[in-house]
Symmetry: C2
Subunit: 299 residues, 2 copies
């Protein structure tokens, strides 16, 4: 999916929500366990309930691998079920020497037909570049993660007092372009968003950590949005497990809708320039090479 | 597998060889493509040809994922086929927030019954600790990798002039013990082995980069061996693709045997204390809590 198409989708749906499909057999409503493929059955209903409210789905690959062969089948069916105009992000955090990263790229871009994959960049340039051999796909590199352990190494300062994650962002941003590369930036570090956005004015950020992990949507929007919004905010557990019975999909929809409504307000505020740090936002500048003109073309 | 059992296996087989199963459908002999599961057929013959010469097999998970569902089946059959007394290392380089790493641990330790997994530690402590919930399994953390890109981030010096990979080794070595934790140290950095061994005198190192990537077995043995040998040296392509026709397994065996012979000489030299840096090696010290007494008990 192109960057302009993604931006167009955001404007159409008034949403920059990514729904994380961290589907856990021990947490889904019990009645689904009677189906042949409970994980797919759960995902199918979540997708049906949320597909007009989000612009991306992010299956967390670990949850499918944990179910072995059956999990792989559930994953494949889930990806096939997601509508073509919604970005599918394989949250896989792969990364290895070149000849191995090539195979991971094949696994996720060819075999599973995902539109994007999360990649761990710490093994360096040759561990990442093989993912760029697939046109029209997104590589989403770990920048600053949302977990407690992110301070163990990502925050280490070098001789110039620069934290490791900034060096990673700077260097890795040269391996691709804002048209094929995003960065993971955890919502649990809102104070870092302003500087990171200054370093990378054009890139989309995939933002985990809102919801169960405690990040604030308003804060990361205030500091992280750019002229093309530039944010995909992921919510997994808070939506998936909003309900526990036969109406879990309705409860998931209610939760997703409340997030989408908040996003709609934030999008409106950013377009109106009423966010403190988005004062220079200008609707005229939104016409991306003629691909998008949200005054007229949105259907 | 316990550390003492692994050490015993090394002494019995006079080998610290790990055979990497980076099985690539486009590189295996053409006659195998007529079998129902060419990848498993290839691996089966490689295992039959090398199982008396190595102490570990290391399936590189990317190569199986690249084949989709069929690849998963080949991987499962391959792992099941490996004799119980040989360590199976899933080369997966996983690592994510805690609740996700838990699922990766389940995938590799429960579903696939591997004895070890390679883990990327850069997301910090909570991304690694879930792997320690499985007794008698090995967590193999990326320390200093063998690829060109290892210099991009792993070599960055902090304010105290310490390279990142050393900080990773120091910190991560406290998350487990030498009985459940190994580190990946690439053979392409022989000059670093001495210092790394000084920092971590007890840990096993999994050493990629000998063979196709150009590392020297003699050099890494000289600087990397400890009293329990402490090295598993991985060779993949040089063994797997030694031959290209129906006798590929014999050629693989010849190659593996030549490596094992070199290892035998290096083991002998280390035991005799004739390596420059292993002068304090003492056979009496090898009786590990009574588990191993290689003068009498080896069968």
């Amino acid at each position: 999916m192109s960057r302009s198409k993604l931006f167009k989708n955001i404007l159409q749906k008034n949403s920059f929500l990514c729904v994380g499909l961290d589907t856990d057999k021990t947490k889904i409503p019990a009645f689904l366990l009677e189906y042949e493929d409970p994980i797919f059955e759960f995902n199918k209903r979540i997708i049906d309930a949320t597909k007009d409210l989000c612009v991306a789905y992010k299956p967390n690959i670990a949850f499918y691998e944990a179910e072995g062969l059956e999990g792989y089948k559930s994953l494949q069916k889930t990806i096939d079920y997601i509508p073509d105009d919604i970005l599918v992000i394989a949250d896989a955090k792969r990364g290895d020497i070149g000849n191995t990263s090539e195979r991971y790229a094949k696994a996720f871009f060819e075999k599973l037909n995902c539109g994007a994959i999360t990649v761990a960049p710490y093994m360096g340039v040759d561990s990442v570049t093989p993912f760029y051999n697939y046109p029209n796909k997104w590589i989403i590199l770990l920048g600053l993660t949302s977990n407690v352990g992110s301070s163990d190494f990502q925050m280490i300062q070098d001789k110039n007092n620069q934290e490791l994650y900034k060096t990673v962002l700077q260097k890795a941003s040269l391996w691709g372009t804002p048209d094929d590369t995003m960065f993971v930036v955890g919502a649990t570090h809102p104070e870092k968003f302003r500087e990171i956005r200054e370093m990378l004015p054009k890139h989309f950020f995939l933002v985990p950590g809102v919801g169960a992990q405690g990040g604030s949507l308003a804060e990361i929007s205030k500091y992280g949005m750019n002229e093309e919004i530039g944010l995909l905010v992921n919510v997994s557990r808070a939506i998936l497990y909003a309900g526990t019975d036969e109406e879990f999909d309705i409860e998931a929809r209610v939760k997703a809708m409340s997030i989408q409504k908040e996003m709609e307000d934030l999008l409106y505020a950013s377009m109106m320039g009423s966010m403190d740090d988005l004062g220079d936002f200008n609707m005229e500048e939104l016409d991306l090479d003629g691909d998008v003109n949200f005054d007229i073309e949105l259907d």
